[in-house]
Amino acid sequence: MDVFFQQLINGLSLGGIYALIALGYTMVYGIIELINFAHGDVYTLGTFFSLAILTLLGVDSVVHGPALIGVLAVTILGAMILCGLTGVIIERLAYRRLRNAPKLAPLITAIGMSFILENLMLYWRGPSPVPFPQVIPNPQFALGAVTIQAKQIIVVLLAVVLMVVLQTFVYNTRLGKAMRATAQDKDAAQLMGIDINTTIALTFLIGSALAGAAGFVSGMYYGSTWFFNGFGAGLKAFTAAVLGGIGNLAGAMLGGFLIGLIEAMTTQFISDQWSNVVVFSVLVLVLIFRPSGLLGESLPNKV
């Protein structure tokens, strides 16, 4: 039984990372109905950017004391800004022209973009996993027979906090309203005076920034990063977004945690080698039986 709770913690931490990535997927899909294949690789870029910043700051292990807050702030913000910019650039270069093209075109372009990013990162740091500094002192807390690490708490906390911030932004600000309007009906939004180009760029900025945050957190959590990280994580995060209800922010969060839990529990109670199969089967089943997801509304088929 203790193992179950321990795996629960593992699953929630893993899920937190998926949730952060899923938020970006769901936002972009909600607004332009594009599955941004390259999003998983933006997440990996987040780890690479974080690593670069940390190296610049001279951090190669744990940072103690008040300097830690400074380091964290600079690194996380830096990664978020850089990733956000990357997302905006990708949208501008590759997706904007294809906004009215048949769905095949932007999807294939996104796959191509993903390949390009992966290869660039391969050039940057090579084909092997790269060690990532610890940064945070990692005390462990015992809760009965279960150990929780500070890192795990931070992952989950960051995911929830960022989602709340995002939710507030989307529902309580003008820019957020513009995003929701564009997501609902692009043409009508334009008629209402909303600059959809800027709104879409903003969506990519925020979504990619979240992926950047996920990147930092993941690097710190695993102690290493790798150019090919994004492929699997991206696919599972997309599964999470679909599970929760595509276009729904809380759904992306819920989906992320659920997928993390499913992975952890499958590994524990079945075996590691089937965990991917189970997760992807979840994807298939959700898309067949409840494509709107857990928290999504049933979208009518537009004629």
Partner: protein, 362 residues
Amino acid sequence: MRLIAPLTARLPPALRTPRAGTALAFAAALALPFIGRNGAFTNFLADAGAFVLLALGLNIVVGFAGLLDLGYAAFFAIGSYSYAMLASPQFGIHLPFWVLLFVASAIAAIFGILLGAPTLRLRGDYLAIVTLGFGEIVPQTFLNLSQWTGGPNGIGSLDQPVLFGYRFGFNPLPYYLMVLGLIALAAWLANNLRTSRLGRAWMAIREDELAAAHMGINTTSTKLAAFAMGASFSGLAGCALASKLQLVSPDQFMFNVSVFVLAMLVLGGMGNIPGVIVGSLILSALERFILPQTTNFMHNVGLNVDLTNSRFLIYGVILVTMMLFRPEGLIPSRQRNAELHAGQADRRAAAAEGELLTEVIH
């Protein structure tokens, strides 16, 4: 193609018909290994030919019916493993190669229906993701069920084809000729399908599924037929490659193979049979010859650039550039060109080619 027109204009009229052109091309393809006279080149041709089969199959699903399948490698795996399980010491079954061509195609077609069925109600991008999911599930399952599939070792010592007592052996030439025959068969089939009622139904679904349904097309059976026919070609390719390599292993069927075949369609011209063949050959040549040779050349010249490590980059750039600037591919079909450049196509030329039906619908 504006380059070839002036050349072909010089040929005598008898040779300018489509049939003569195809025969010429076929004869040239037959002669290739004897011109090259290089075992490695013939081997490359045989392998590339199998991928042409895969491209033709995916073309039916993506090109004709417009169903974006991102997990085609799953069918390739099924076709290959079908051959491996029925022509090797694994279970002691040794069906003849020519029988297995039918059997593996049939098995692949059945799985085409099974894996296509869940996608019937889904829109384009969701369908893509589900097929991607299957593309991950299938090879992992083959890997995990090691008792039946040999796990990471795969299944080896597969039978080589035997034709009237002649065993194919290790020379790639007979395999190439066999693959050429299969390509001819597959291209002929695909072309006939394209101009048949089913083919037109596919095109109708591709352009506007709802309208097609209202015109009386049974979208379910039409889509399943696309998956089944497309998957069956992978059965042919699977037999060809498995019998030549005498081995199947799960890491031959990963996601990058699905993208590789898709890139062939994107590059060559989705929905257009000759375009697909050309796209397939170009990418195979890139993969097996151009990239390694260029890397070798650069090493000899002293530049320490490893182009083989840039495969992903090159394919990515191809996909992005093609989609941005020439989504209809290098050798487009007129119809696809029209679809993708709505309003820019030469409608008169399209009508002259006999696609009046599409004109009427629009």
